[in-house]
Amino acid sequence: MSEVTLAEAVNMALHHEMARDDDVVVLGEDVGTNGGVFRTTAGLKERFGFKRVMDTPLAETLIAGTAVGMAVQGLRPVAEFQFMGFIYAGMEQMISHAARMRNRTRGRLTCPIVYRAPFGGGIHAPEHHSESTEALFAHIPGLRVVMPTSPRRAYGLLLAAIRDPDPVVFLEPKRIYRAVTQTVDDDGAALPLDTCFTLREGDDVTLISWGAAITETLQAAARLADQGLSCEVIDVATLSPMDRETLLCSVAKTGRAVIVHEACRHGGLGAEVAASLAEAALLDLQAPVVRVTGYDTIMPYYRNEQAYMPQVADIVEAVEQVVAL
């Protein structure tokens, strides 16, 4: 048992599962000798050899598609996209094949693939390195979309994703890759892929969030607690399929919800959460569901990126607004 970061927990899970299951292979740009640009695959090549830890040519379509070919042969590829901003060339393969192979062949061939990508802003990265486009994947039937927000959840959810018999898009909030450490027991225990995590219990408002924005959401909850407002904080974690049940139960209790995500607002998954709540829990709602999100504009380069991302004060303000109703 050691204190590890989220990035290290990803690495731990990869080590664990590659040791346990020979069918697990890792591929991507710079995942081998270099151990990945965020070091999440460090040590794997040394330990498991270049045949199972494959540095690919620079070709995202290939990365996405070759994983399909490996998977239909019974391997369990964990394919890394270096940044979410470079995942798009892989989308045709993900949408038209990975997500559908089981369905296309009526179960004959399957795609137990994990597509990993670091995502989100806030690390002063160059253009195209700060995307949060999880909604694009969550809208694709046949893909699971999962997002850890702590070292322990990273470890347990990644194990679950690798073991899952179907494709999982596993998005890692890079802003918090090294933000906190936690003791993580390398016991091979997976977490469920269909359950929200309630990070803080409360009665007045439900704060629903995912990804790195969880940090500000928790900070806002703490600040609001000082003001005497009790917030329940839920990390959605599995964006598709989504555990609406937990969300609805919470809102049934609090009667109010604020959704926080970094992605832009229009067509973001916050809309899905809000729509689901409004559809199923309208009578419980004592105030409109409010979304605190990125703007409907392009993520600015880093000098102005903070202005784009939801801040603690924005969340506090939104909560104050919904409790005022």
Binding site: T61, L62, G65, T66, A67, V72, Q73, P77, H97, T105
Partner: protein
């Protein structure tokens, strides 16, 4: 820095358009049973093709892509592959797929709008037909990588059309096949047209085989209506692949005699004259002529085989037409291994609707 780097593409023809060998035939030509089996499969594919088009025209099948002109390639490919090789087909590989074990009923189900058509019972590792052009190339190198990871001596054969060679998937796959020395053979079925787009608009390259050079792969160009040429070159490439010598690209030059699919009308963009000249190259006729001349086959056997083909095809059509559609809820059954709890209400709703039969 060298002063000059040289690359070549070798061309291969054995049987002339008139069915007369232009050079000594490869050894496999002596295996009469094999050649006859190849020929018979070509005729079967052609018989099936005519029927499938007729079904579509009469509203009994959906949009369907004709195999006409691709029979020789498919028969040769299907015969060269070992049972435990994997075929990664495109949508004009009927002839190869029949030899692999895909049934005509499965074929019809697929183009007839039924997912079960890709659940190949008899070649469970082969990939289903890829409709998004060229995407299958990446799967092929993935399958080949799996063989490499496991140290298996198996090869992958991947088909793609001339149009498909323009798309990144093919080119990225050719590149990685070279970089990783993968056991994969790409067969480019150059039928001169990609729907209405002729080869000269598709690429400025003299051959399509030379696209293999971009990945450092040995590259060949064969007459795709010459059963012997395709067989000889594909067999050798597969053997190279299985024995760890790496990947190859083979361009098989042929012609798409039919419309692109039943949804197309080729007279809009190509001349009757071109089509007539192309028919002079027909690979089925060519092999038939050779077989007749060799005394391996004759009109009587031809007629008997045609009758058998018709019978087989009709049987498959009956099975196809007799296949009840799946219940609508099947759309949820293969989405994930286990239906997520979250989706059960949707499933139930669909089930209720389907049972209610309320529309």
């Amino acid at each position: 820095m060298k002063e000059r780097y040289e690359f070549t593409v070798d061309g291969h023809t054995y049987l002339g358009a008139d069915g007369v060998p232009v050079r000594d035939l490869p050894a496999l030509a002596d295996d009469t049973e094999r050649v006859l089996a190849g020929y018979r499969n070509m005729v079967l594919a052609r018989t099936f093709d005519a029927k499938a088009i007729a079904l579509q025209r009469t509203g009994q099948c959906g949009t369907y892509p004709s195999v006409l002109g691709h029979e020789a390639i498919g028969s040769a490919v299907g015969q060269c592959m070992a049972a435990d090789d994997v075929l990664v087909p495109y949508y004009r590989d009927h002839a190869a797929q029949f030899l692999r074990g895909v049934t005509m009923t499965e074929f019809l189900l697929y183009w007839g709008g039924d997912e079960r058509g890709s659940n190949y019972r008899d070649c469970p590792e082969d990939l289903p037909v890829a409709v998004p052009v060229s995407t299958q190339c990446c799967h092929a190198v993935g399958v080949a990588s799996a063989f490499r990871v496991r140290g298996e001596r198996r090869a992958v054969l991947c088909s793609v059309g001339d149009g498909g060679t323009s798309k990144g998937d093919f080119l990225e796959s050719v590149n990685v096949a070279g970089a990783w020395q993968l056991p994969v053979v790409f067969v480019v079925q150059n039928n001169q047209w990609a729907i209405s787009t002729p080869a000269r608009i598709q690429s400025g390259s003299r051959t399509l085989a030379q696209k293999g050079i971009s990945g450092g792969l040995p590259s060949h160009r064969v007459d795709g209506q010459d059963y012997f040429a395709v067989s000889a070159v594909v067999a050798e490439a597969l053997e190279r692949a299985r024995t760890g010598k790496g990947a190859s690209v083979i361009e098989a030059v042929t012609y798409r005699y039919g419309d692109h699919t039943t949804a197309d009308d080729a007279t809009r963009y190509r001349s009757a004259d071109e089509l007539r000249r192309a028919w002079e190259q027909d690979g089925v006729k060519r092999l038939q002529t050779w077989l007749y001349r060799q005394g391996h086959w004759d009109e009587e056997r031809e007629q008997a085989w045609l009758a058998k083909c018709k019978q087989q095809v009709d049987g498959a059509v009956s099975d196809y037409l007799a296949t009840e559609p799946e219940p609508p809820t099947a759309m949820f059954d293969y989405l994930f291994e286990t239906l997520p709890a979250e989706l059960i209400p949707q499933y139930q709703r669909l089930q209720r609707k389907a049972e209610g039969g309320d529309r």
